[in-house]
Symmetry: none
Subunit: 210 residues, 4 copies
DNA sequence: CGGTAAGCGAGACGGTACGTCAGGTCTTGGG
DNA sequence: CCCAAGACCTGACGTACCGTCTCGCTTACCG
């Protein structure tokens, strides 16, 4: 678990009520075990084999305990993912904004190349019907990516590296959505070659140059 | 059912073995009823409320009959969608290739604005765990969109409207994937305004012009 | 099949309408195959594994054909049994009526020792809920046994070997019912030793003798 | 439920694990309701209409709950019967052992005259294919009858009322099996007249008296 | 330092849907 | 009119998880 990047723990499901008042404290080891098992199950069996019952069994926890802290299995899945996914993608700065943008997307794709990608893919689709989980997904996974991208684009506009009349949201869509789809629909790979190609295309557009 | 646009019906699940040999023929009315009910259920209740049991009940068919023709509920969902979705999106030609591209995407978005979009969204994610259905989805829904787009882009390159060194696949990703995500994750609308904005962005790129 | 002992074939289910009128004649080979397979299935798998579906499959007949000639699977079972069970148990005469009685029961038990017993046991219980089959069973299997026994007893009474005030039906119950139960409930064996013991007991009674 | 006559409840299916250890206790009311409904269904509709599904529906219990406690529907049927059937048939003593024997059988027939008989008849045959249930049936229903009878016979032998060289098992067969058959095959009634007649026959034998 | 208020595991409970099996009916084409 | 093949609706099967609900036990604070 990446403790240093876990911010605003209080409002996160599965981590509330950690002190104050009488009664036994929440067992942190149990929480960890549950998240661990949840993540592994998602990785190994996909969302199909991901059941509260199974997580409870394999983690040695009671179902009650899981339901006490996570409102739905989708919430648990999102949490299990985020617990192992850095809130802030770290990447080295290049000289230019557009270079930084490419680095950001590369780092993202890198990070999602292995287990994380499998797990996120599982979540992406499965939780779709649960509006609450969709909300969680948008807010806690997708938005941070876009916000980081948005900041970069704005910085680029200010620096004159990006045209001022850009429809920022559309650009973010063009950049990040393909990543999301490739993960969930498994159409093609998400390697850095592809990421570069995508970035380049969006940066230059499809019209004949200059 | 749109008979004229339904090509190569023989290899499509749920439509095989329609003649020859002894034994009772497949009941076309039943097939239609099942697809109809499946579509309506997906539209109304989403994938959450979409159960074989329910479709059987509401269509008056036996569960066995459904399982005889569709291997999984995801396969049924894909079929129900395609039965009501035109295989070829029709749109008027404009003078330019880029105009045609925009028209194509507008028509697509239009077609998915109502029930079709709801249903497709439901399918998109739910079928993810069933590799077979994913395959179906890619081949029978996504690919036709991309192919149409690919042909347009290539025509544009030949006509000099589009730069010759374009990474076509990346461009297709940037154009169509956002549409898919907006449908499935319900992040933002898919109206023609947004489509125009997206097209424009991909066409011009994000760098300062010429 | 024991053709010579099969009497009154006309009223037997599965053997009617064998001539006259237009149309194709009934296929005797098919009838034989069905009965054969039915018998074997009962013998091998018991009533549990005895299904019209299975018989149709293994005999190569269509389900329709079976239903055309037998109203229920119990009827088929009874028929399959009777087709291989001699209508008249043959046994050598002894000097005395009581000896003949013992011989009759021995022959019966003998005949039911192997496959026939297994099959009859299967029928006995399974058909119980179908009143029609129960009727069949009583009329075509049980009654002949009792009638033969009744004739013997009556002969014994006339000959003075059996007391005149005997409640014949009760005696028949005491003699034959244990056989039926042992077959169906599988409580104990039905070997000739046991048969002798039973006969002897019923003959002599339980009170101290002479 | 006849609490006072229910002995050794611990080893009886559907009544185990009623205390100790963590976890929610078994709901006795539910158990009662299930047995009640099962009994009523058997009485009303026979074994034909006796389905786990139906019992679950009418009792308000989940199918899982039934399957948790009873391995098969036959086991449930046996239990439903025994729950309402006195483990020890009570009957007044007469002066003689043979009189007591007749009383015992009368009481038995009496007890089985109404609903109990219908239910037992239903069980008798239906459970035949399930060896486990057959076992249950033999051990928990048939054996107690025979044991009681056996004790009576032995007492009779000691008292000189019954001949010393009697084959006790054969005598028990002759006495009780007809009862069982009459119940299951429905050949004739089980009234006290018939019971008397049967007893008398077995007691006196069929040979001319003394 | 003892009461009380949680947290925790185990596990029973009423449900819903699953995917399968067999029952009995029907509709083909061919003999 | 018979027969095979086989599609069809019905209904029950036994299983898997769901989310809820007791239980008895274990902490830990707070008066």
């Amino acid at each position: 678990m990446n403790t240093e990047t876990q911010q605003s723990t209080e409002t996160v499901p599965g981590a509330e009520r950690s002190s104050g008042g009488p009664g036994r404290r929440r067992d942190e080891a149990t929480r960890q075990k549950i998240l661990q098992v949840a993540f592994d199950t998602l990785r190994t069996d996909g969302l199909r084999g991901f059941t509260i019952e199974g997580v409870a069994l394999r983690s040695g926890a009671g179902k009650t305990t899981i339901y006490r802290w996570w409102p739905s299995k989708a919430a648990l899945a999102v949490d299990a993912f985020l617990d192992r996914f850095p809130a802030e993608i770290q990447c080295r700065g290049t000289g230019s904004v557009i270079g930084d943008l490419r680095e950001h997307m590369r780092a993202l794709a890198d990070n999602l190349a292995g287990d994380n990608g499998r797990v996120l893919g599982a979540i992406l689709s499965g939780g779709r019907d649960d509006p609450e989980t969709l909300q969680l997904y948008r807010e806690r996974i997708l938005m941070p990516w876009r916000e980081r991208g948005r900041r970069l684009l704005q910085r680029g506009i200010e620096a004159g590296e990006i045209r001022a009349d850009l429809a920022v949201d559309a650009a973010l869509d063009a950049l990040f959505m393909p990543l999301v789809v490739r993960l969930s629909i498994k159409v093609g790979k998400c390697d850095s070659e592809w990421v570069d190609s995508l970035c380049d295309t969006v940066v230059r557009g499809i019209r004949p140059g200059h």
